[in-house]
């Protein structure tokens, strides 16, 4: 696996440097891009009065080969180097980040030392054949069926944790997907993502269409032992955007689950002068009625998310206000709140463009929770990120 990966990465690099921008046609056949990020994290655990720091250098390499008009090959690698106290404190850090639920193992844990870990993964590797009317995609790919920004009950293939802000591309799924464009604004997608344990596979269809300025979608399929059905919308009320999505899961004999699951999320957004306002609400029937410190560790930070369980509590609300201070800088404040245990997460961010293709972000994640009838700030994360895009 290691040598395979090395071959792919090196091969990609060499190919793209030799042919990349030197094509005589105006559209290059090979396109290489990506970024290098440095993330410095600081976590302050209040009850222990302990500060833990960590460092991450993160390189992303995106390679697209337009083999013919119709055939495209995509390869995207995520290479990460971790070091620092957090790595040192977790003896299994390397193994922990090297988990991938996909069908094929396309990752390599190059170095796994006490306080130093190097890891690579191909999170996109697919072939696409596209005609005027349809597309067929095979391989590791992102199948993004969600509509909302924070909670996506319709996103059967890649549920994600909003707080994991440093991975905006999100993992891919090993899947076969067929898209048929039934109209200019409508399409039918059928996707199958097999699992080693076939019962744990996902196979579903999504139909998107547009009705009276509303984008609508209907979804149905088999989801890891359950029958899933759902739908979503995206439209306007006056000047405000209004969107949402809901899913319902019914277990079959193959399911490890015995309960029906319902989750729904709605979002409204509005531009008020220079300030962009967004509010989201989430309900998931599998969430906890009351969260405490113990269950939070496994639920929110442990990251056991799935389309059936997108947040550790039953109810959650999110509001965000952001504004551009100048063409170079922006600030935002997000608040995520759950009444089930009074869990509050405050997410202030500042971003600044140092120069062309150089960005600096300062992100805070401050967690508050009701504990023994008092409201406590129990952990604060502060992240400084520098990013160079190429």
């Amino acid at each position: 696996m290691k040598s395979f990966l090395r071959y792919l990465l090196l091969g990609g690099l060499i190919l793209s440097f030799s042919f990349g921008k030197a094509q005589d046609s105006d559209q290059p056949k090979l396109v290489l891009g990506g970024y290098v990020k440095y993330l410095q994290s600081n976590a302050y655990i209040n009850p222990l009065k302990a500060l833990t720091t960590n460092n991450l250098i993160h390189n992303r390499l995106n390679l697209k080969w337009y083999a013919t008009n119709r055939l495209t090959f995509s390869l995207e690698a995520r290479n990460r180097i971790f070091w620092g106290e957090e790595v040192k404190m977790n003896p299994d850090y390397g193994e922990l980040i090297d988990t991938y639920v996909g069908l094929v193992d396309l990752s390599a844990l190059w170095v796994n030392e006490e306080a130093f870990v190097m890891h690579s993964i191909l999170d996109r590797a697919y072939l696409e054949y596209a005609t005027e009317k349809w597309e067929l995609r095979l391989g590791r790919q992102r199948i993004n069926w969600g509509i909302n920004t924070v909670w996506n009950p319709n996103d059967l293939f890649n549920a994600f944790n909003y707080l994991d802000f440093d991975y905006e591309e999100r993992p891919g799924s090993d899947a076969l997907r067929f898209t048929y464009y039934t109209g200019l604004l409508s399409s039918l997608e059928i996707a199958f993502s097999p699992s080693k344990d076939l019962d744990q596979s996902v196979a579903a269809a999504l139909y998107r269409f547009n009705l009276k300025s509303y984008d609508l979608q209907l979804m149905s399929g088999y989801y890891r032992g359950d029958i899933a059905m759902g739908g979503g919308w995206s439209g306007y009320i006056g000047g405000a955007g209004f969107k949402g999505e809901a899913s319902y899961f019914v277990p079959t004999e193959q399911s490890t689950d015995s309960l029906n699951t319902f989750s729904i999320s709605m979002t409204a957004d509005y531009q008020l002068g220079k300030v962009y306002l967004m509010a989201s609400a989430y309900y998931g029937s599998r969430g906890l009625d009351k969260i405490d410190l113990g269950s939070l560790q496994t639920g929110l930070l442990g990251g056991q998310l799935s389309a059936k369980n997108l947040y550790p509590t039953k109810w959650a609300f999110f509001t965000n206000a952001s504004t551009q201070l100048s063409p170079l800088s922006a600030i935002s404040l997000g608040l995520m709140y759950s009444p089930n245990g009074h869990l509050l997460t405050a997410i202030p961010t500042i971003s600044y463009s140092i120069k062309e293709n150089w960005d600096l972000d300062l992100v805070g994640q401050l967690f508050f929770l009701e504990n023994q009838s008092s409201f406590q700030n129990f952990v604060d994360g502060v992240y400084l990120r520098m990013k160079w895009s190429y």
Binding site: N144, L184, D269
Partner: protein, 249 residues
């Protein structure tokens, strides 16, 4: 202040067609030459200039009438591949990194586009607000060695426009908009738009460089430079589709 700046940019870029007799013909002809009648395809580089820094953004844009538009960001690397699609009143944004199209709320249209001095509206909506002005010829003037008509635009009553007055100078030989002056209600000059670098694009002589200069803000301007352009090419409606928003290069 910023709105006015954007507006003046708009009028310059997108001034539409409904004027009375002769001045109307002048403006109309000028617009037709620069904006095309049916469609325009253009490569544009925008530079935001401030006293201490500059930022550049390049894009390709396709528009058909006032209904359809598609804009593709080609640089900087960070935003490369992002597209905006407009069909009627609906606008979507496609972000290749997360592989998702997001529908923008109408209220966002007045907001800065990707941190620039242009709004979403500037890019995807044809402004026809010039209809709200009445116009008159003023004294002719020579600009960049070219004899120009001076056209004074004053807002009609009840018109919800930002400017107290707009003065445009249009060259007599090629109908080029060489200079526009934007005045506020008190009659103070706020923004100046200068057109220069007259070159041929797709067989038409046009100003390929436009500079919007806020008079009060020293060292500040936004420059639009036009590269390749194609006028009135047949673009099928299907070009402006969700599918093409993801595919266009």
């Amino acid at each position: 202040m910023k709105n006015k700046f954007i507006f003046s940019l708009l009028v310059f870029l997108m001034a539409a067609s409904a004027f009375g007799q002769t001045a109307k013909e002048v403006i109309h002809e000028s617009e037709k030459r620069f904006r095309g009648v049916k469609s325009v395809e253009a490569e544009i580089t925008m530079t935001i200039v401030r006293p201490n820094w500059t930022r550049e953004m390049s894009m390709k844009s396709w528009s058909k009438g006032t209904e359809y538009a598609l804009i593709l960001v080609t640089s900087p690397e960070r935003d490369k591949g992002t597209t905006n699609l407009k069909r009627g009143r609906e606008v979507w944004s496609w972000m290749p990194r997360i592989e998702r199209s997001i529908k923008l709320p109408p209220s966002m249209m007045s907001q800065s586009w990707m941190g620039s001095d242009l709004t979403n509206d500037d890019l995807v909506r044809e402004f026809s607000i010039v209809e709200d002005y009445s116009h008159a010829f003023g004294e002719e003037k020579v600009i960049e060695g070219k004899s120009c008509w001076k056209i004074i635009l004053t807002p009609k009553e009840d018109a919800a426009v930002v400017w107290g007055k707009v003065i445009m100078f249009i060259s007599k030989d090629d109908y080029l908009q060489l200079r526009s002056e934007f005045y506020d209600e008190e009659g103070y000059l706020v923004n100046v738009m200068q057109g220069s670098e007259i070159e041929e694009r797709d067989g038409r002589k046009i100003v390929t460089k436009m500079e919007m200069i806020p008079v009060e803000e020293e060292g500040q301007k936004t420059v639009l430079k036009y590269g390749e352009m194609k006028f009135d090419k047949e673009i099928p409606d299907s070009f402006f589709s969700i599918q093409n928003m993801k595919k266009v290069r």
